[in-house]
Symmetry: C2
């Protein structure tokens, strides 16, 4: 019953993440492959040493960014050919290459290359996409150089219950160290996402980590943990921080709002994070409007603290057998 959250972060140091209770960081294979190059990082002793992070590192396969950032993508059984968004150079990402890059980086938790099924997709489209992802998952497993790092399979299948079940069956047959739900939070309604997670998560081996990728808002985390999810990754805590949206018990604070001009309260009363202990809403608003770099950092610290606390509270509630009460209280506090 591990419950963790990864955060892709900017502006803060590894020590700060560690002090905030962050257990795992996620590194983007696509970005590191293009710049500075996994070969450079490997030569310099691996990603942990390069970025000065001693804790576990989860790496994605690179596939998601290939589909969302790069140009001229061509998908074939072999893999996906793409042009770098940085310099237009051509590259071929295969399942084998995705594992090779992640191993060179020194990843602790590697993800299989998959195709994130677009939304909406017909049953037929989702089924074809799933077949490709399943084949790639098998090749990822086979191409592993060592079993030092964990390798997770990713469940696709669109929003279709039968395809998600088929995906789980195929992946558990191959056998992975953990399982992720992919293809969620891609434009579908929140309720659809919860529904798909609801019928997919229970199919996964309970003894292994269940990871919902690319999710989510605080209410998503609470709902998905109640459905059995253990791990998440999402830009929401940090990206929203840099956009001035701060998470609090009853919802969010948009720090640029004029009503905070001379508000001497912290973002959240009683919050023990560094930002709330030392700075007023008025000061954070001032830094944000002045586009001071410190604004992004202080906002990021508060939001990471919020999400880490939320996950910690859920872990404790589960341990004490009172998660249902926690969940009820969580939603009753939200007013905006």
């Amino acid at each position: 019953m591990p419950v963790g959250t990864q955060a892709t972060v900017k502006s803060v140091t590894p020590e700060e993440l560690s002090n905030l209770g962050v257990q795992v960081v996620l590194a983007n294979t696509y970005h590191l492959y293009l710049r500075p190059g996994h070969d450079v990082i490997s030569k310099l002793g691996g990603l942990h040493r390069f970025m000065h992070w001693d804790g576990p590192i989860l790496t994605d396969s690179g596939g998601y960014q290939v589909f969302s950032l790069s140009r001229l993508r061509q998908i074939a059984d072999e893999g996906v050919t793409f042009q770098s968004h940085l310099d237009g150079s051509r590259h071929l990402l295969t399942p084998e290459k995705a594992v090779e890059i992640q191993e060179a980086l020194g990843s602790d938790i590697m993800m299989c290359l998959d195709e994130c099924t677009p939304y909406p997709a017909t049953h037929d489209e989702a089924e074809k996409s799933l077949a490709l992802s399943t084949d790639w998952a098998r090749r990822c497993k086979e191409s592993r150089d060592t079993d030092r790092a964990a390798l997770f399979g990713i469940v696709q299948g669109g929003m279709f219950q039968d395809l998600r079940a088929k995906a789980v069956e195929a992946l558990t047959d191959i056998g992975f160290d953990g399982y992720a739900l992919g293809g969620l939070s891609v434009g579908e309604a929140k309720e659809v996402m919860w529904e798909v997670a609801g019928f997919s998560l229970p199919l996964l081996p309970e003894a292994l980590p269940r990871y919902v990728m690319g999710v989510g808002a605080p209410e998503d985390l609470v709902e998905l943990v109640s459905l059995g999810a253990d791990m998440f990754d999402c830009v929401i805590p940090t990206r929203n921080a840099r956009n001035g949206q701060l998470f609090v018990g009853n919802g969010t604070v948009n720090i640029s709002n004029a009503k905070y001009r001379d508000d001497e309260r912290p973002v959240e009363d009683g919050c023990p994070c560094y930002t709330c202990r030392h700075y007023s809403r008025a000061y954070l608003r001032h830094l944000f409007l002045a586009r001071e770099l410190l604004a992004y950092r202080l906002n990021t610290i508060h939001n990471i603290h919020y999400f880490m606390s939320l996950m910690k509270e859920m872990r404790e509630a589960i341990r004490k057998g009172r998660f249902a009460g926690f969940r009820k209280a969580f939603f009753s506090h939200r007013t905006k």
Copy 2:
């Protein structure tokens, strides 16, 4: 014999500055007057509390930014009328207003409003400008509400020795808590700046702080300390850091340079700063090229550490009576 440096900084916290040995921070009156407003800051308990800095704060008069940033400036004996660079609103900054704002902010070291004499200027222009600055200095002294904070006079007079002497005489007649050299580093050659400082600094009361405004590079600090300067403020450590220029014993490291691509050495071997203890040149180059916010922060930490160490070494050398040797060694190490 105090020797200090102020640093206008971005991306780092007060605790980090304090840990780096920073003794004083400089706050820009012009910026804070326009946004969020000195009234707001005063209402929230003053600038120390607002920004969470317990140490001394030096405030400029606002004049320098009025002359460099604002639009439609009109100078009269009364003061300077200008339009905000943010919203075009019209404002009148008088000597009395400059002191009032600085007192409202809770400044510890206030500066008189002056006119930074443009460069080049004829003797006649510099003399007229000096007369205005002298009159404004007298009005600043007279308009002080309390003597809780120190008030410094600013020596102008262009590059002319007789005018600088005249300025010192007039200001010391009025009587201030410290004296600054203004109107330097405005486009003149380094040697001219050193020359003007060379004939101006010895005229100032030795028992009071002598502050050279807007300076400088490491070699400037060493030269000016040798001429009697005690305090400096400059954007070089922090602005150059954000532009990827890092200061080291033999000159500078431009971190974006391709030769650092897989350079696993720290910015400077043996440097005890946080950045050098944990990160390679290769990683700093990577962060900088990726425009990661952490790049600006790590670079800033190194450069502030460099400048603080330089000032500390000079204080120690002076205390031990071996400043001449220090200066010689400093210049002999510089190769680029």
